[in-house]
Symmetry: C2
Subunit: 548 residues, 2 copies
């Protein structure tokens, strides 16, 4: 038995270390695990035990059982449920901030903001449900012809067209993997869970081992809302387990119909491969790896290399660089402006005092990634920040390399998850364009430019569009607004499916598919497709889009 700290706090928050299999609290029978306070290295009570195949199967069976009732619940009712989750999370703010702080080392102000972001996501999807575009309702009215309805051979003129109505239905139970770096907004009650629940999919979450207590609290908030809205038990379960074993079992369970994941490229690709090898493959939405290139145009550097350097380091070191959108790659054209930028940034990096990273394991991986990059041909270390004490201590690092060396070495595009960045010095804008066109897919690409740069940016823009999900002008990538227009996605390897976003209202579309009803009796039509449009939702009638 390992000694554990913080027992009083865990009791106050009612933590048990148990999983939720539907409404039931279940102890695992596998490996004992604890969250660890990365600032002290001490384990946190209560201990948990990893679940096994038994719990995976039970959670998935419950989810499948719940699916029809949940997906056919009135959208208003589902919206109320999502809002109740938000209310329950809000009521737990103090406990969440306290526990997540102990488990991640992230500061209270950041975590309090993350609670708000998390509840906002649930409220956004409640709005999405009520607005109703997510139904994808389309009606092509019947047109008379010579053949009986439903038997018009293709292409006959004039065709007898049947009455055809299309809506989208949820895919089925969804597996969600909690991410380490946003213990609330991308974890148990994160955007994947919120959008899947909004779509009408029961959710089975695998908690991240690094914040088990926070996971239990968030799961409790969701479970309470399930009970308060008298929804079927299987709508939500929380599993605790090993990623490669329990996580894979979850993804290959035949009842799971889609997967949401945020994490490393290796872990994401393992899930993608497991899902593709199923007898019946399913979609995996894995958000994996991005170095988020920032292009500093010559005019912008000339106008403000210094302030760009300072702002860059503020973005780089936000959350100890553990943002999916941390700016890890800076592209600029050699010259005085870039020199000023690098000098200022170096000074800012040097003056950082170091930060505690999320886990000792992440800190080790980060140090290894930095060492690997620093050892590549042509790479120089420009500045190092101070180091925080302890096994989870992280240190900001700024490196530089010439454009030709960068082009010659694809390994320099590898993500270093943490506060490290590489400046690529290009000879001229043509060289910079070549570097941009060599880049892998990214979540974001940023451009700093002034009026004189615009024509050059216009020429660069098509290459950026094809490589990133979000293009930021005159800003830094480390803010992801939750709204309707945001894209948190991008071409491989940023994600496994560039056609989607994991943040914002469009995220619901990942968990839906279209179904058409041909000549259906009115009494059997779903609400979204009834003639009287009872939900008052936007629909496309005969090809024409009508607002609700």
């Amino acid at each position: 038995m390992t000694t554990t700290a913080g027992a009083a706090g865990s009791v106050a928050a009612g933590l048990t270390g148990r999983m939720f299999i539907g409404a039931e609290r279940v102890d695992g029978t596998g490996t004992e695990v604890h969250s660890v306070d990365p600032r002290t290295g001490r384990p946190l009570a209560p201990p948990s035990h990893h679940g096994t195949t038994t719990e995976v199967r039970r959670a998935c069976a419950l989810a499948e059982e719940a699916f029809d009732a949940y997906r056919n619940a009135d959208p208003q009712r589902r919206a109320g449920f999502l809002e109740r989750v938000a209310d329950n999370l809000t009521a737990l703010t103090d406990a969440l901030v306290d526990r997540a702080g102990k488990e991640t080392g992230l500061p209270p102000v950041r975590l309090a903001g993350e609670v708000v972001r998390t509840t906002n996501q649930f409220r956004l999807f409640a709005d999405v449900l009520r607005e109703g575009s997510w139904h994808g309702a389309r009606i092509d009215p019947a047109e008379p012809g010579q053949a009986p309805p439903g038997q018009a051979p293709p292409g006959r003129t004039p065709p007898a067209r049947p009455d055809l109505r299309q809506r989208r239905i949820p895919l089925g139970p969804v597996a969600v993997f909690g991410a380490s770096n946003f213990p609330l907004a991308f974890s148990v009650a994160g955007g994947d869970t919120a959008s899947a629940l909004a779509a009408g999919c029961p959710v089975v979450v695998k908690a991240h081992d690094a914040h088990l207590g926070t996971s239990e609290l968030a799961a409790g908030a969701i479970r309470a809302a399930v009970a308060e809205h008298a929804l079927p038990d299987g709508v939500f379960s929380l599993l605790i387990g090993d990623g490669p074993t329990l996580g894979t079992e979850l993804v290959v369970d035949p009842r799971i119909q889609a997967v949401g994941f945020t994490g490393s490229r290796a872990a994401g690709l393992a899930l993608v491969r497991a899902a593709a090898a199923r007898p019946r493959p399913i979609p995996v939405y894995a958000e994996m790896s991005s170095v988020n290139p920032v292009v500093l145009m010559p005019g912008a550097l000339a106008a403000g290399g210094e302030s760009l350097g300072r702002d860059f380091v503020a973005s780089l070191t936000l959350g100890a660089g553990q943002f999916c959108t941390s700016p890890g790659l800076i592209l600029g054209v050699d010259g005085l402006g870039l020199d000023v930028f690098v000098t200022t940034a170096a000074r800012a990096v040097t003056s950082t005092t170091g930060a505690v990273m999320l886990t000792a394991g992440i800190a080790r991986s980060y140090q290894a990634a930095v060492a690997a990059t620093a050892a590549r041909r042509g790479v120089t270390i420009v500045a190092r920040g101070g180091a925080a004490a302890g096994a989870a201590g992280g240190q900001a690092v700024l490196m530089a390399v010439g454009g030709d060396d960068f082009l010659a070495d694809p390994a320099l595009q590898d993500e270093m998850f943490g506060p490290a960045a590489l400046v690529v010095r290009c000879r001229d804008l043509a060289h910079l364009g070549t570097v941009v066109r060599s880049l892998e897919g990214q979540l974001t690409a940023s451009v700093h430019a002034v009026g004189a740069d615009l024509d050059d940016v216009r020429r660069l823009l098509p290459a950026l569009e094809l490589r990133a999900g979000r293009i930021i002008f005159d800003g830094w990538p480390t803010g992801v607004d939750v709204g309707h227009a945001v894209v948190h996605g991008g071409p491989f390897p940023a994600t496994s499916d560039s056609r989607t976003t994991s943040v914002g209202s469009s995220a619901i579309e990942r968990f839906l598919r279209p179904v058409a009803y041909q000549n259906a009796p009115g009494a059997l039509l779903p609400g979204a497709l009834r003639d009287d449009n009872p939900y008052r939702i936007p629909r496309r009638i005969g090809g024409k889009l009508l607002p609700g």
Copy 2:
């Protein structure tokens, strides 16, 4: 050198047997191939030669070169191009019907209808381009806050929100595989090509060896439109080659960004696997296999078992049963009504005179599939139709099996591509429900019901929704209307991606992905996202959907 027939016809139509690598006509250097008249078994002139890696690479390189100019062309111009393709195909109607008739054995009236369907698809996507919803335009206006734009940390209250605008851009060059069974509407100028070109994706088609002349004619119509609209050469190419070799090379070419396919389960899965194994995986839209279950409810059987039996055989034998949506599985509850249905259907099958199938190979596969099903435990042959002469002759077959035997043997769900169907006799409606819940994914499910059946149908409907892309009431599945509400898709193995349809206006969405622009200068915004909405398209502003 094989002797070839119909040389005069091929000269009249200007057939050369060559590929189109962009505008260039290229002879392959691989295996010599001919289309074959399935009615006579004689090869048709001119001969072609399979292409090799060289042609795949050249076509893909040209497609990539063309991509930026093509995707950034004004949507009006792309719409005009699609309409020109339709006009060019219409002008070729006689040649297309003549050549496709020789190559497939399909009757002129069917093929003339298919030309109209094919041109209608291009015209539909021209309308889709002009209507503009495909842009997926969303604008979240900036909101002031305390932090500079772009640097709002997640969850800060009240947030400084940047100006965020989202649109969808095309994925890149698309590989399309021509299908054998619709030599026009699902082939070179079929729905995959039309929707990919509409999305702004250059297309590289692999022609189906069974109708090389028809493919060349259709490709010529597209190529002429490319030239007439002064679009880049690489917008369209036509390759001739072996599926397992040239087809796979095409799918793994790094410049190809998506794949459209209609054909067999084995071939579709091979392409899915090849695409997933790429260093950078890409989506594959493979429409593969469906037995299109038809549920005959007791009331409907009692009211009209005889007419149902006749109409069923008419649908089953349409196009010699070579429709993706051919009704291959009939589910009913034992009793007088089902007996009358089976007796009438058996009589109708027996009186069929046989049909020429598309190729001798398809006829062989069909006979093997029928023999394999007939040999399974509990299966009886109820009726056989007359057989057409020749190697490509096909014969309608009606078989029956008890529900328990069906449930015990998953092989009975295998598609028999051709005019064969299996009647599953169930004990009661509960038994029928169990059979429905045992089914794999399907393109369609049909239900025949009268008023007294409606409550039972309501209970069955959720299981049908989860297993089919289109649910047909009181009709037969062999008509697929091209419109806005149709779904030609469905859960695996009907397709490899149930979230999409390969027919109808929604098919364009398969080839698009979202990109967000944050705080972009007005001068750099794409037309779809400019403040003045120059295309007058529907957009979502601050979450609210505004029609164009």
